[in-house]
């Protein structure tokens, strides 16, 4: 296997991250000393502050800032939570370089009852997770650099060797069983090294069940590829892995999802990033990814029985209309597909292909699509 070129990413190192967290605290303290209403500036992470970078084909964060101020009763609680998360991250970064904490642990570390009330500092993990993202965006850093990780979610299999120096392990992903290689939540070059590969391309599948089928059928062996699943909407580790396989190893990436609005949106997140995490699109997005299927147009192309299609509901139609307005669904092929779906009024799950034959997907559908380069952009 050929040695791989390591791409040098412009990521702030631990020390820089720690410094900017401390700066945030000092800034607030300074305001307090000047008897000012304390205030933290945070980039707006919403559709209203999203741009589509035409050159790099990525969703990027605009420069709108919002102010989180202490003396605004709607903000006070979040203001406190922001500083609590910042303080905990500073503690984590002060400990040994290799210590990481899960974002769930962080939630439990910071969860306590506010004295004299029945209220907790954090009631749900869903309160602390967005605060972490706020901090990442505000400090132009990454969760990974805050030594925070999430649950491992994605799996991978195929001709690639992965080294994790922290664990002293080296994994040949062709010698794995049914569960494959679990993609770590922190998937940065210093912790997860992509040592060598012989693969020709990467196939990302939305559904774990389909991934299991491809693994069982040794699809990766027969077609010399790496097969990845994010088990639904892929997490950051999986998206980072896809990004690196494409950027570092120059492997083409094909995405296989259900033929419905949610599947299409998963593809768009893999390709150009998400609104919520737009500040890290350059590291999580893979603009060169191509959509292999399923499309509603495949029903005719592959003679899929009509009875396995599912009628669109109101939610599907509404979401489809929204997506037609997104800048990153502008290519005419996509407009064509979405309008086609609305016209025929049905959607399609990957498992529907099994109606033809259980190996139809591995033996007929995927090989033909790849051979004909029948992709959507």
């Amino acid at each position: 296997m050929a040695p791989l070129m390591v791409i040098n990413m412009t990521v702030k190192r631990t020390e820089n991250t720690k410094e900017s967290i401390v700066d945030l605290g000092k800034d607030v303290l300074g305001q307090l000393k000047k008897v000012q209403n304390p205030n933290i500036s945070l980039p707006v992470r919403a559709l209203s502050n999203i741009k589509f970078d035409e050159k790099n084909k990525l969703i990027i964060l605009g420069d709108k800032m919002s102010q989180r101020t202490y003396m605004n009763i709607a903000h006070t609680r979040k203001f406190m939570q922001t500083l609590m998360v910042a303080a905990e991250c500073k503690k984590l970064l002060s400990e040994t370089e290799n210590t990481t904490t899960s974002i769930r642990d962080l939630y439990y570390i910071l969860k306590r009852t506010i004295p004299g009330t029945t209220e907790n500092t954090f009631e749900e993990q869903s309160e602390s997770d967005p605060i972490i993202e706020d901090l990442e965006a505000a400090l132009s850093t990454l969760r990974e650099n805050l030594h925070l990780h999430a649950d491992q979610k994605g799996s991978l299999v195929g001709p690639i060797v992965i080294e994790e120096p922290k664990f002293g392990s080296e994994t040949d992903c062709m010698k794995l069983g049914a569960s494959g290689f679990g993609i770590p939540s922190i998937c940065e070059p210093d912790t997860v090294k992509l040592k060598s590969t012989t693969a020709d391309f990467v196939l990302v599948v939305e559904k774990d069940a389909v991934w299991q089928r491809l693994n069982e059928d040794r699809f990766w062996k027969n077609h010399n590829c790496i097969v990845i699943t994010g088990k639904g909407q892929p997490d950051r580790g999986t998206r980072r892995m896809i990004n690196r396989l494409n950027a570092e190893l120059k492997l083409p990436v094909y995405v296989l999802t259900d033929a419905d609005v949610w599947g299409y949106y998963i593809y768009s997140v893999i390709k150009q990033g998400s609104i919520n995490l737009s500040f890290v699109s350059d590291r999580l997005g893979t603009p060169e990814a191509r959509f292999i299927g399923l499309t509603t147009q495949d029903v005719v192309k592959f003679d899929i029985p009509k009875n396995v299609t599912i009628k669109l509901n109101e939610g599907d139609k509404k979401r489809a209309a929204e997506m037609l307005n997104y800048r990153w669904f502008r290519p005419k092929e996509w407009h064509h597909e979405i309008n086609h779906m609305l016209k025929v009024g049905h959607k399609l799950e990957l498992e529907a292909l099994s109606a033809k034959n259980i190996r139809f997907i591995t033996e007929k559908y995927l090989p033909e699509k790849i051979k004909k380069k029948d992709f959507l952009p």
Partner: protein
């Protein structure tokens, strides 16, 4: 019809025969049969009415004599549904020869023929109490009174129902070594003592509110309590007035023509009526086409009808209003404060107005919060609480027509919650709907004045309430800022090394000093409003 024909064929009675059964009935006999007309329709109410008549008389007498009233009411249960009721005052006392007449004759009084604001009007009240007592228990009423001189006069009496005359059972005059002055009446009557909304207790409580210059002691079957005097000043004595032409109808006009000492019809108008000058009299008579010089006794019925018609076409000056003695906003506030201990009182006294030629004045009070447990609506006429017939009273209907919700109050017609409304109508002639004097008749001007007064008071209350709500909002915000200061300070200590307590102090300072900059922020989601 055949039946009627048959009846016709019976012996027809002559008018002479019938007249043998016709005779004048005395007012006492009338009361015996129709006591409900004066309010004695049930045993619970009877106790209240007796106390009310006694106390009303005491208050009127004290006011007129310029004495700050000290009144004691005692109710003692003698046997089941039989009570001794004692009302004692420090009033001017009654001269000896008047005592039997006042207590033993119905419709004997000094107030009926004069036009001045007073509690009692017809001279029916107290003697009805005597009559009711003797009708229900057979017991005589005991009266003791002294003008503060050498003797105390004591009477035990009943009423001769047929003759409407006192029957004196016992009469004596005793020495008065301590120069006691006042009157003490002791009834023994059938009744039921309760302490509900229309009871003696409620009557005394409301009377204490509308007469804050009086002190009441109440010794009830369930204990002794005192309603203390709140102000040391008696209300002004209202002046007597003459009738106003706007309110005069043909009947009264005819009677007055017969009684007048004026020699010309023009002189009659200017002397017997309120605010009629020579010019106005001439104008009225000209319109009525009557010679101003003719004698009042020679006017024809047609003349009278023409005068009454002409009056409606002439603009008359309003009647004088010094015949009225309102409580005034200060006394209303004081009265409500001392009996209810509310957090807030708004009171409004309207300017006098006129219905059918009678001057009247409306005043209202609203007490809110404090020890008030539930909503109450109190009506007063010439300082007397009206406890019955709330629903059919114009004052109630008027209060219910106010849009209370507009003033930030919870309401179902009348406001709900810890709030007490009071309304007082004072007039030389309060238009009651019946002789039991329980409900005020719906003259549009009375309804309108009452509504305006309540709206004005409600505005004051709503200002107070919005102040409270603002203060509550501010306090709530301060609590929020305090609540989150501890963890914020702890986190900042971790980040900067500055002392946690010092940071907490700084946050407190900022909250205190920057308070003015805090504004309502409707949107406050911060930067993470979703994907």
């Amino acid at each position: 019809m055949p039946d009627e024909v048959a009846t016709q064929e019976e012996k027809i009675k002559s008018a002479e025969e019938l007249s043998q059964h016709q005779k004048a009935i005395s007012i006492s006999e009338f009361f015996e049969k129709n006591r409900h007309l004066l309010g004695y329709d049930n045993k619970t109410k009877a106790l209240m009415i007796i106390v009310k008549e006694g106390v009303d008389n005491s208050l009127d007498a004290c006011e007129e004599a310029r004495i700050l009233p000290d009144i004691t009411v005692k109710i003692e249960e003698l046997e089941k549904e039989k009570y001794k009721i004692i009302i004692k005052d420090n009033g001017p006392g009654i001269v000896k020869k008047q005592i039997p007449k006042i207590f033993g004759t119905l419709l004997y009084g000094s107030k009926f023929h004069r036009l001045r604001q007073s509690r009692g009007q017809q001279g029916l009240g107290i003697s009805c109490g005597v009559l009711y007592s003797q009708l229900t228990t057979g017991e005589a009423t005991e009266i003791a009174s002294s003008t503060g001189k050498e003797e105390i006069h004591k009477y035990t009496l009943k009423i001769d129902v047929k003759k409407n005359e006192p029957v004196i059972l016992n009469e004596k005059s005793e020495a008065n070594p301590h120069k006691w002055r006042g009157t003490r009446i002791s009834f023994v009557a059938e009744g039921i003592y309760r302490e509900h909304k229309q009871s003696v207790l409620e009557y005394l409580k409301e009377t204490a509110i509308s007469n804050p210059f009086a002190n009441f002691i109440f010794e009830s079957p369930s204990g002794k309590l005192e309603f203390r005097r709140g102000v040391e000043k008696l209300p002004i004595i209202p002046k007597e007035i003459k009738p106003h032409l706007y309110g005069v109808e043909v009947g009264l006009f005819t009677r007055m023509l017969n009684e007048t000492s004026a020699r010309s019809i023009s002189g009659f108008l200017t002397t017997e009526f309120s605010r009629i000058g020579a010019t106005t009299a001439t104008e009225i008579l000209k319109k009525a086409q009557i010679d101003p010089k003719i004698s009042p006794r020679r006017t024809t019925d047609e003349n009278i009808v023409n005068i009454v018609k002409a009056v409606k076409e002439v603009k008359l000056s309003k009647p004088p209003t010094d015949c009225l003695s309102p409580l005034g906003e200060k006394a209303i506030t004081k009265g409500l404060q001392k009996e209810l201990s509310p957090d807030f009182v708004a009171s409004v006294t309207r300017s006098p107005a006129v219905y059918r030629g009678w001057p009247f004045q409306i005043e209202v009070g609203i007490a809110f919060g404090g020890t008030i447990a539930e909503a109450n609506f109190m009506r007063f006429a010439n300082r007397v609480p009206l406890l019955y017939q709330q629903g059919s009273c114009a004052l109630t209907r008027s209060a219910a027509s106010v849009d209370w919700k507009r003033y930030g109050l919870d309401a179902d017609k009348l406001p709900k919650g810890p709030i007490v409304l009071m309304v007082h109508i004072c007039s030389v002639w309060v238009p009651f709907t019946s002789e039991s004097k329980e409900a005020v008749a719906s003259y549009p001007i009375i309804v309108k004045e009452t509504k305006l007064a309540f709206q004005d008071a409600a505005r004051k209350l709503s200002l107070y309430l919005s102040g409270i709500r603002r203060a509550e909002r501010i306090a709530e915000r301060k609590r929020i800022f305090e609540r989150y200061a501890i963890e914020t300070a702890r986190a900042l200590q971790e980040l900067t090394g500055e002392d946690e307590k010092k940071i907490k102090g700084m946050i407190a300072t900022v909250v205190e000093k920057r308070w003015g900059e805090v504004v309502d922020s409707p949107s406050g989601n911060g930067p993470t409003d979703g994907d």
